[in-house]
Symmetry: C2
């Protein structure tokens, strides 16, 4: 970490809770390697405070952008001036940047980061069948990127019928005939089952789904990064299934962030 | 600087411009010495954006307090829930902290920092006559602390008659018979002449006052910290006057900040 002075520019990651967020530990060393006079700081914002917090943060002249995590990824789209295609299709965003003209543009790298991570681990989604549990911000982004990445079939599950139907309709509009939705997980036909819910963040959480429903040789992926070994992944391991950890996604998102925030270029003047 | 992670707590310094502000360079090494998982970051906020920015920053759960510098020291008092006595008398504040009950308390350490710095340099204000140029936020704080510190006479000068009269009236109510106000600097009777205007921050600025009006052996003090050698102090030196640099104040404010923000104790839980 370089010295913070009056000239240091800011990025912030918004979440609630925020203590577990790994982005500062990954992005700050990157900023340092690139020789940037900038830091990424965590900011805990409760859901009812999001509108006011973001309105205020947009007034900070040396704040160049935001990363956004649970539970704000869907709601944050309301406070952007424009949505990149991945954010528009997913209905959620995890990064916002200030454009030279002062507008705030939102994009979503959860999906592309996850798909890059799957590919790097040898699980290219092309032609495979997926069961995705959770149709919130992260789930929506993963769904869009998996379909974009060539997934043959995607069964989305969520206990909230409203948001499940809205997501399935949006996905089916763009990728017809490959998406189904249900209130309970449909694992039997899946090659890969993915947890995109927050279940597993806290020690007493129930499993988001029972991995024993998956076929032998199947892959269980979790988007949760801390703890690295969620109860879901431990249970799947014990069943002899292949597991895919949450940190793969963030590792591959780093390059997306660096590009989005122009970290390899000089900062825009304030 | 320690590593910034998701658990790091925040302090911010608000100013416009903010690039010249020294607080991050002084406070962050102090936080590190104290082993605190916290950083102070600069935030540039334009005057018309202050209300919205502060409203937003109050919604950041891990932001424990603000330092405030030019030009926000007066206006910021409107956004505090309570004013400490030094802030109330000066009509300006340079530090706000979140109390355990969620209220925001404002205090002002410009004055006490300046007076401690004068004393440490051998210029105890007790019994001396002062000419103070600038009745803005910093000037008001210095005026109150100089009178509190025993200054025999204080001649305040400002080109804005409204804010000059308001300050003189407030000071005279508390320290009767020792304060006068004027639109032009009255240096002839002064032992110490103080610049409390922003003139000198930028290379082409005119002098805030002509130090040749001061008696031989007089002291010229500047609150400007960067550049360290303002044109005012250079001119005063060339005239054989004693000079007192702006950084003395911040050096002595550090201990005030550490106390105000409880930097030697564990942080309050979010």
């Amino acid at each position: 970490m370089g010295r913070i002075t009056g000239t240091t520019r800011l990025l912030a990651v918004l979440g609630d809770p925020v203590e577990q967020v790994r982005a500062p530990s990954l992005v700050n060393p990157l900023l340092e390697r690139l020789g940037r006079d900038a830091v990424l700081v965590p900011m805990r914002v409760r859901p009812p405070d999001l509108a006011e917090a973001v309105r205020g943060l947009r007034r900070i002249g040396n704040l160049d952008g935001l990363l956004v995590t649970v539970p704000h990824k869907i709601e944050i789209c309301r406070y952007a001036d424009e949505l990149a295609p991945a954010a528009a299709v997913a209905g959620s965003a995890n990064a916002l940047r200030r454009e030279p003209d002062g507008r705030w543009r939102a994009d979503n790298f959860d999906g592309v980061g996850f798909v890059r991570g799957l590919r790097a681990a040898g699980h290219d989604p092309a032609g495979r069948a997926f069961a995705l549990v959770g149709a919130g911000g992260a789930g929506a982004a993963l769904a869009a990127a998996l379909l974009e990445g060539g997934a043959a079939r995607l069964a989305v599950c969520d206990t909230d019928p409203g948001r499940l139907d809205a997501l399935v309709r949006r996905l089916a509009g763009r990728w017809p005939g490959r998406v189904t939705g249900s209130a309970v997980p449909r694992l039997a036909d899946a090659d890969v089952a993915v947890n995109a819910t927050p279940l597993g963040l806290r020690p007493g959480d129930p499993l988001p789904f029972d991995p024993s429903g998956l076929r032998a040789g199947g892959v269980v992926a979790d988007i949760i990064m801390r703890p690295a070994e969620t109860r879901l992944l431990r249970t799947a391991s014990e069943l002899g299934l292949t597991v895919h950890h949450g940190d793969h996604t963030l590792d591959h998102q780093l390059e997306c962030y660096a590009d989005f925030f122009h970290l390899d270029r000089r900062p825009a003047s304030p």
